[in-house]
Amino acid sequence: MKLNLSKLSPKQLLEIDACTRCGECLNTCPVYSQRVEEGINPRGKIQAMKKFIRAQYGLWAKILGPKKLDEGSIKKFSEMVYRCTLCGECGIDCPVSIDSKDLWLGLREVLIEMGHYPEGTDILKKNVLTEYNITGQPNEERAEWLEALDDLPEHKYQKDKAEVVYFVGCVSSYYPMVHKIPQSLVKILDKAKVDFTLLGGSEWCCGFPLIGAGMKKEIEGLIQHNIEKVKETGAHSVVFACPSCYHTWHEAYETDFHLFHATQYLLKMIKEGKIQFKEEKIKVTYHDPCDLGRASGVYQAPRDILRAMPGVEFIEMADNREHCKCCGGGGNLEMVDPELSAALAKEKIKQIQATGADWVVTACQQCIRTIMTTSRRTKIPVKALYITELILRQMK
């Protein structure tokens, strides 16, 4: 079995050599803090890959011929690479600025080609490419969360033409625990008289779960479809409540649409006076979702929203913004190792509790799910709100 280096870019191959094994990443990796194993931390993954490359392409390999890679080592390596939430904090602190998250995605692509990947990945791929969502349920059921809304207009927010498309995302569409997110956002947009539409059953998965699994090349059809459907509405803007969808559209979709995360769009509306708040005292802290914060650079918008609400006392967590600790919900880790994902969530809950806040507010449905699921299972009380739920509560 030969490593196919063309799955990585020249920059990524150079980054593997640039790692000086300083170990700074060990201090930040949330997975390593739970599973203290060299192979699982960023340094360990890079050095393992370096060994494989040297065995097949290094100086001795050139002289004596490439060494055959041991199946057991590759399997172990795969287990380590997929036990990562892709939070990206390692890259923030890396002294030589390795773009580690991008590198992990590249390594996953290498492993997919070698046939070494987690069991659930094939099912995920089938669900996304045949049913166009991560659950495998009929895609026509995407907008069923609307049924719980009172005073649903006749068009059920699915119009032929609109200025703005609200791209809901798979998690908010199919997981009842977070139905309140799209429900609250459509109520806000409706109250503020925004001309928006949903794509309903025409919305397909953005492709991020496949990118995260290492199958980026499979998402081209999804991209083309989604862009086409938005174009058909005549919309110039697309709003996302899901940071992963937002980030994926920014990075992988080539479009002229104005792309907004919900926090950015709602802040704009607050500044324009379209959303006004009553005063109600509440103590909150904010959890920066990895795909919104570190990956997309959106830190200030949600904070400005919280600060715009009179009566809201905002307390930062000890680790915040680019150093905010991952909740454990990303990178398909929940599918690969639910226990490890839960362990990260427990640590997150401790940080939340340490602030003394009544609520943790966040801007990611997956973070809400991860935190609340762990809270219920471990019986550690914590109350989590998506920011649109808080806005709706505090709105006049």
Binding site: L5, S6, K7, L8, S9, P10, K11, Q12, L13, L14, E15, D17, A18, C19, T20, R21, C22, G23, E24, L26, N27, E38, R43, I53, Y57, L59, K62, D93, P95, V96, S97, I98, D99
Partner: protein, 278 residues
């Protein structure tokens, strides 16, 4: 055979091997795929990337120079993480760069310009570098910057082998890199000290440095001068000493592309790539 000739007979192959080693590494990176480009040869990929880098540089050269100084040489990010590590790293990096620059100035002026000044009177000013007012500064700064490398190396050794923070994991290449730097530093000071202690070494032009007239102020080369106090009564074959320092110095270059020290080049690229995204 003159020392100059011997030196170039060793220097040229080591540079060829260094360049070959660097190309070997680069050709490995060129096995990667460039986004948006169909499958092409590594040579063509190299040209594409070189052109991209060249255009990128000339689009904003001031920014690149600023990043080179602040983020690469003076490593601003590391400064924010750990003063000890930053100080150690800066001593090594700055020490090497500064020593190299001063050595090149000294070598070029005293080795070449002085010769040429015999036929080109306009170059007569270079005698200041050889025997005039500039020479003491060259001698002192060469010594000082080399000493910075030594201090940096010692601090790195202390951290890795005595302080031993949990995040560090020592492997063979760490030990090799540090002991190699230490050896080059100590052997360099040693042979300088021996030269100062034994004027006959200078007279017989055994070292390349002896082609420059002896300094009137040996104490400016304070490291070698200190050691010379202990070396007056010791007799070692000076030729052997010269090879003892020069050969490993040249092998050092050959070693770089195959060692941890490759990060000198690779991490500079990753830092530039990261800053250009911001």
């Amino acid at each position: 055979m003159g020392k100059h000739l011997i030196f170039y007979i060793m220097f040229i192959p080591s540079m060829i091997l260094f360049i070959w080693g660097m190309w070997f590494r680069i050709s490995l990176y060129l096995q990667g795929k460039i986004k948006g480009v169909e499958e092409i040869s590594p040579g063509k990929k190299f040209i594409i990337l070189l052109r991209k880098g060249w255009r990128g540089f000339w689009a904003r050269p001031g920014w690149y120079i600023k990043v080179l100084i602040i983020d690469v040489i003076f490593h601003k990010k590391l400064f924010g993480q750990s003063f000890y590590r930053w100080f150690t790293h800066t001593l090594l990096v700055f020490g090497f760069i500064a020593t190299f620059i001063v050595d090149m100035i000294k070598g070029f002026t005293t080795g070449y310009l002085v010769e040429w000044s015999h036929t080109i009177p306009a170059l007569s000013f270079v005698h200041a570098f050889e025997t005039g007012s500039i020479r003491p500064f060259l001698d002192f700064f060469l010594e000082f910057f080399s000493f910075l490398i030594l201090v940096g190396c010692v601090l790195a050794i202390i951290r890795r082998f005595i302080l031993r923070p949990n995040q560090l994991r020592t492997e063979e290449e760490d030990i090799t890199a540090l002991t190699y730097i230490l050896f080059l530093e100590l052997s360099g000071f040693f042979i300088e000290g021996y030269r100062i202690a034994h004027p006959e070494v200078v007279a017989s032009r055994i070292y390349l440095a002896n082609f420059t007239p002896a300094s009137a102020n040996n104490w400016l080369s304070f490291g070698g001068y200190f050691l010379s106090q202990f070396l007056r009564g010791i007799r070692i074959n000076a030729d052997f000493l010269w090879y003892f320092h020069v050969l490993p110095s040249l092998i050092w270059f050959v070693y770089i592309p195959h060692s941890k020290l490759l990060h000198i080049f690779t991490s500079s690229v990753t830092v530039f790539a990261d800053r250009s995204k911001q």
